[in-house]
């Protein structure tokens, strides 16, 4: 009897933490559910507030339609129609057939007094523009604020920037050329020298495993990245000893530190412009439906989407990208042709002044 009592007592004592743990999990789950419910309520309220704000912002406004562009703006001297007529062909050439869907993403503008001391209603929807903005400035605003249709988060994450018409395509490619030559990365240099596989790596097109060693090929690059870009980040807590070892040229420590970075925080060896130029190249190669194909399968791999958009294999597309970038080499830093003549002219002028001087007329 006492043995049975002892067993029961032992079982109850052993079970009590399990029971309390169970109740803790249940409590946490209830809290999580409550938070989720509160978040959903907040989302609904935000959506209502947003739509009310949108109604308030667009009240008494006119709608201008040019091509697929829809511009909702209050009456003002802003040259919105003329600007839209200028911007539409550029936007249409980028998004192609997908530009037909742009009416779903109207611009909301509010022309305001350029005098900043004038009090005005605060709106949280749309863009405020001074009503004296000229045609060029207004066109630029339309081009730089257009919402890319069906632009999914995966593409946005990979691209790292918005896909909009560029005002200076040549400058964009030239910037990539400079990056290819000056980036402190062996992988980028090999890409510059014609290694298409390396180009795919630095553009993050294809296999994304082991990015640390693929992007930063040499131990020196990895060490420089840790000690120059992430020294503060790794200097505290458990990573501090590894940072010390990395500083002592221990590549395993440097690599481990870089691999411990949160996803997406490893600096790209090439800037956003490189990927942007690649997408533009794919869209140019793929014709009018290229953009539609690019955004058609948000779950597909980036290389597959780019290939589909360009209607060519990814290696050919990357090679095409590289060729276009190499063709955009910046102009050398030589003096313009007229500078030599100007310098000689000024020299002659000052010399003439000296000849005419009256100094020794004593």
């Amino acid at each position: 009897m006492s043995r049975l009592l002892g067993v029961l007592l032992t079982v109850s004592v052993l079970a009590s933490p399990v029971q309390s743990q169970d109740s803790l999990i249940a409590r946490l789950r209830r809290q999580a559910d409550s938070l989720l419910s509160a978040w959903r309520d907040a989302q609904e309220l935000a959506a209502v507030a947003d739509s009310l704000e949108q109604v308030r912002a667009t009240a008494g406004s006119d709608t201008i339609a040019v091509g697929g562009l829809r511009i909702i703006a209050n009456p003002s001297p802003l040259p919105l129609r003329e600007a839209a007529e200028r911007a539409w062909p550029v936007i249409d050439s980028l998004y192609g057939s997908a530009a037909e869907d742009l009416p779903r993403y109207p611009y909301i503008f509010r022309a305001v007094d350029p005098d900043s001391s004038v009090r005005r209603t605060v709106l949280h929807v749309g863009v405020e523009l001074p009503w004296d903005l000229d045609l060029r400035g207004t066109s630029t605003v339309l081009l730089t604020t257009v919402v890319a249709p069906h632009f999914d988060p995966v593409l946005a994450d990979w691209l790292g920037t918005a896909l909009r018409p560029t005002l200076r395509p040549q400058d964009e490619r030239t910037a990539v050329f400079v990056q290819l030559v000056t980036a402190p990365s062996e992988a980028v240099r090999r890409c510059f020298l014609g290694d298409i596989v390396r180009c795919k790596v630095v553009l993050q097109v294809g296999d994304s495993t082991g990015l640390v060693t693929q992007w930063y090929v040499t131990p020196a690059e990895r060490e420089a990245l840790v000690t120059e870009s992430f020294a503060d980040y790794f200097a505290r807590g458990a990573t501090a000893p590894s940072l010390q070892r990395c500083r002592q040229h221990r590549d395993d420590a440097c690599t481990a530190l870089l691999q411990s970075l949160p996803p997406g925080s490893l600096p790209r060896p090439l800037g956003h412009a490189a990927r942007l130029v690649l997408v533009r190249e794919a869209l140019r190669a793929g014709g009018r439906d290229a953009y539609r194909r690019l955004v058609a399968s948000p779950n597909a791999a980036i290389e597959a989407r780019l290939s589909s958009a360009a209607e060519t294999d990814i290696d050919s597309l990357v090679a095409r990208w590289r060729n276009s970038v190499l063709a955009a080499r910046p102009r050398p830093l030589t003096l313009p042709w007229w500078a030599g003549f100007a310098a000689i002219g000024w020299t002659a002028l000052f010399g003439f002044c000296a000849l005419r001087s009256s100094r020794w007329r004593l």
């Binding site: 402190p184 050398p332 830093l333 003096l335 000024w346 020299t347 000296a354 005419r356 020794w360 004593l362």
Partner: protein, 221 residues
Amino acid sequence: MIAMFRAVLYSQWKWSRLIVVLGTVAAFAIPLLSLQGAARADRGAMQTPELLRAVQSWGTLYPLLATALGLLMAIAAWAPDHRGRHIHALTLPLERWRYVLLRFGAGFVLLAAPIAAVLIGSSLAVLTATLPPGLQAYPIALAMRFAFAVFVAYAVFFAVSAGTARTAGILLAVIAALILVQVVASMANLNLDLFGAAQTALLLGPGPLAVFAGRWMLVDV
């Protein structure tokens, strides 16, 4: 005339040989120093930005050297005449403009040495360096730019030096007046930017100092 030019050249050489020699040495050394270490065989992609930074930093010395050479050569060309109250020049059977032209020309001939030194130093530096792929060297363009800068600087300071104290006073007065007008305009909240306008006129487009502006890169993308 050639004999006269030789005589003027010789006298000017005597007065300015230290400037010419030191300027030539500096002009030869700067390109070599700017590419120091570029010949290393183990130069990786990491060093490309460093190399460009070094070249750009050293590049600031070219316009400074050009200005210094122009200034010192112009002073040296006129200093003995100023000291002697121009008596020697007045005793020569020569019009003033011819005499000034000879002095002016002699200065240019002497300045050819530092210009040639920049060209030789740059070419040597580029030949001995292993440049990373994608970078290009511009020794001839750099030397030409240096030549133009030296000529303009020399001509400006030569003209000022050849002028009277009254001319120098007028120049200073004009500059002081510009500063004064700018200060008054700023105090009166007027939208007047004389310094900006002067900077644009002097340094941009075909301005007299435009050749000094911009980056002086022996090696660049």
